[in-house]
Symmetry: C2
Subunit: 200 residues, 2 copies
């Protein structure tokens, strides 16, 4: 009998360094962040990073792969509901929760998508983006067909505005501040569903 269960699946130190790198990538951008900065922040020398990672590129690869696996799974789970309004609410909440819980990954995704998508190894980014769009648009279109959503705007365009508004909120949202993610989600949903014009 070996005591395998005690051994972490992946090195804890590796995860720690990945989180540090993610923070720097999110703050300053992937290209602008140097391996020496990452190493400094982790308290080691730059060469020692390569004990944990193949390359700087593989750090951002790891980060985004983990994040996208998680959030796409959440979207899938949430989208199985019947009521389009309820599903849309849940999708939006999930999105803002991700902004709160995975700040760095969301910021990197937002800022570096166009850069990274050029390289074959990051094809999984496009796959995740496309599946996400499919899930959201399907709900919007179902709601339009059943009459709970207005049908005079394109579902894809509505999706884009929603996605962008949620993702970009990572630039001004601060987790320690006034509003919790689900409150912001509700603010956003209120204006999205009912509009800001007074009907009275």
């Amino acid at each position: 009998m070996s005591s395998e269960a005690v051994v972490p699946v992946v090195s804890a130190r590796r995860e720690e360094i990945l989180a540090i790198a993610a923070g720097l990538f999110a703050e300053q951008g992937f290209a602008t962040t140097t391996v020496r900065e990452i190493a400094d922040a982790a308290g080691i020398l730059s060469g020692s990073l390569y004990h944990h990672f193949d390359s700087k590129e593989s750090m951002v690869d790891d980060l985004l792969r983990g994040f996208l696996d998680d959030i796409v799974a959440r979207y899938r789970a949430v989208a199985s509901g019947d009521d389009p309004v309820g599903v849309l609410r849940a999708l939006v909440r999930t999105g803002f929760e991700a902004v709160d819980a995975h700040r760095s990954a969301v910021a990197v995704m937002l800022n570096e998508y166009n850069l990274l998508i050029q390289y074959p190894r990051f094809a999984f980014l496009r796959n995740a983006a496309e599946e996400t769009e499919r899930i959201w648009v399907e709900v919007l279109e179902r709601g339009m067909e059943t009459g709970v959503f207005r049908a005079d705007v394109e579902a894809r365009m509505v999706y884009r505005f929603m996605r962008d508004a949620i993702w970009v909120s990572v630039r001004w949202y601060r987790p320690d501040r006034r509003y919790r993610p689900d409150e912001i989600a509700d603010f956003y949903l209120a204006t999205l569903l009912e509009g800001i014009a007074q009907s009275s």
Copy 2:
């Protein structure tokens, strides 16, 4: 008598190179774009760029200064109206027009703001951003006071969602496609003002 009027205020060649650089900055990012790439695209050698510009940094400085001067002036002009709904419509249209007419500048502003704002020479970015926010928020708050806008969401938060949705559309909007900027503005305004939920 000299024939000064014929001489361009700034070199036409300089403007041409600036537009080329802007396109590359927008596509690949400022840090990732090299002076050699800019020079190649302009059909000259990298050293020759420095006949026209002090530095790579001064290119992006020039680009953003020109853009922000223009758009802030437009916002100011448009905000002088009385009717909050009308002013908001005009602001949103102006925003989408800028996305259409100044693609590169908007993209650079969106992508590099956080990076550039760190350096003193780019303090004018913050000034422009703050004045813009003041103009938009003032209109929203005026509309809330007079009762044409709902008052149960924060004006600043509404502003941020609007600003981001407009700016980020530069990532998917293509000028040659189906929709003109004012059509997209109207789509966006329809969902923003009235919401996407059917009242029936």
